[in-house]
Amino acid sequence: MVDAFFQWLPTTWLGQLLGLEPTPTLYFFSIVLMILAVVLPLLIAVAFTVYFDRKIWAAVQLRRGPNVVGPFGLLQSFADGLKLFLKETIIPAGANKVIFLMAPMITFTLALISWAVIPFDEGMAIADLNVGILYILAISSLGVYGIIMSGWASNSRYAFLGALRSAAQMVSYEVSIGFVLVCVLISAGSLNLSDIVDRQAGGAIYWNIWPFFPIFVIFFISALAETNRPPFDLPEAEAELVAGYQVEYSSMAFALFFLGEYANILLMSAVMAILFFGGWHAPLPFLEFIPGFIWLFIKIAFGFWLFAMVKAFVPRYRYDQLMRLGWKVFLPLSLFFVVFYSAIFVYGGFLPTNG
């Protein structure tokens, strides 16, 4: 995406007007522009995601949800953001200041940089890495640091307990996510996200969701745990830990956690769309004329809808049940499915030839 833009920009009327040459400086600026082109829509999407989350939750419980600010309450998130922006940032006296302030920044940054490898359409990724899926796994495993640092630096019992819970939870469920990814990788023969999407071209019947339905279920539930969403939101369980690791945070520091959390949820929905729902491909071949990023957007919205519905339906797990599910149910199950699918691919002759 960056290269194409870099080649294309000097040929436009704007490029000719400014007399742009394909220099390294221009390359740098095209990278920055591409990053902004992904991050700005993402942040706006996050704002609306929060709104839809609340609306869906309200609809399930027969309430109205946010409906005052703007038409249908659409501007509620922006009003909330403004409110947080205008509040005072409070740093507790006993806190470790540097780490306390770094933690929300790390959470937010990590939630954004994973989007660098998401292909929005054919060749439309900021960085089309060979190891794209490992990159996402690596960044999401880093995500735990923002939480554990915030919990420790807050110097508060509630925050610390929340952070410890979260660290254990994310490490546990990453294992089963890793095994689920292995299954999909074997079918695609590549770690590159674009290749994985390309393997699912040609309509909905070729999507990975059909052969891989059992591991899709495992992936979805693990993604809920990985993003600390209900029913696995124990790190911030308000009834027992007030708000867990966020308890000492106010103002923009809290807003960064909040935005990072929702950006992570959207990322998980995007990964789900890419791995199981054919990424940018249309469900029916004759609908391919609609641009790929719109299909991906629809699929991400569907993934988020699932996340929101689960939040509305399911009561919170107890912590020991959560650990039991992660280690005693999902780990053996996903390990079994790795062996199962590899056996099918090897002995059924379905191994992809490109890798």
């Binding site: 490992l134 796994l137 495993s141 490490v171």
Partner: protein
């Protein structure tokens, strides 16, 4: 320009790795030490990316930063250490530590200067084999690990498994009287097992049946 940029990035990563490595041992707070260690791992991963070994870089982040260091941090955060007390004996042990370090340094230096490489090493280093650009390094590593080095690779895995089982066996203890949730038992439980309806005559009371398990 391109070369210069790579050089700058290399020196930034290398300097960060070294500096954070130093800070790991000199930081006053053990939690800070672990955080510096994580930064060192992370910049080492950056160096791997510069070398074009993106698979190793990602593995370094996933395994060391994402799992090992998290558990490290976990343990260090929960330890209740008196830092000032810990530092008191520091100067006493300093000469011994310096001596051991010096001996190690001399040994390593002796080894490094007297090491004899094989005859073909210099030749191979001078003209390395052609790099096939069509093979990603994930694939190249996989092919090598699962063909030529399969036994060594599997043995390494088994050693780790044995270590893990050993650690579990050593630390596992059966505690009597711990109440655990048995989900199967909970689901099997029916209203009939849990309670019964009894018509009680006025003024007579009931004799409760003995509990069934």
């Amino acid at each position: 320009m391109d070369l210069a940029l790579t050089d700058i990035v290399f020196y930034v990563f290398a300097a960060t790795t070294l500096a954070s490595g130093m800070l790991v041992i000199s930081a006053r707070n053990p939690v800070h030490s672990v955080l510096w260690l994580i930064l060192a791992f992370f910049s080492a991963a950056g160096l791997f990316v510069l070398l074009g070994a993106e698979f190793l870089a990602m593995l370094l982040v996933v395994v060391y930063v994402g799992a090992v260091a998290v558990l490290f941090l976990f343990v260090v955060m929960m330890l209740d250490i008196n830092f000032t007390e810990l530092r008191q004996g520091m100067m006493q042990h300093m000469p011994l530590g310096v001596l051991i370090g010096l001996i190690l340094l001399i040994e390593l230096a002796t080894l490094a200067f007297t090491w004899n490489f094989g005859d073909d090493v210099a030749k191979n280093a001078a003209s390395p084999g052609p790099i096939d650009a069509s093979v990603t390094n994930t694939e190249a590593l996989g092919v090598l690990l699962y063909t030529d080095y399969i036994f060594i690779f599997q043995t390494a895995g088994l050693i780790l498994l044995v270590a893990m089982i050993g650690a579990i066996v050593l630390t596992h203890r059966e505690r009597p009287g711990v109440r655990r949730q048995n989900i199967g038992k909970q689901v099997r439980r029916r209203p009939e097992d849990a309670f019964e309806l009894v018509d009680v005559e006025t003024g007579e009371g009931v004799t409760l049946p003995t509990k069934k398990g």
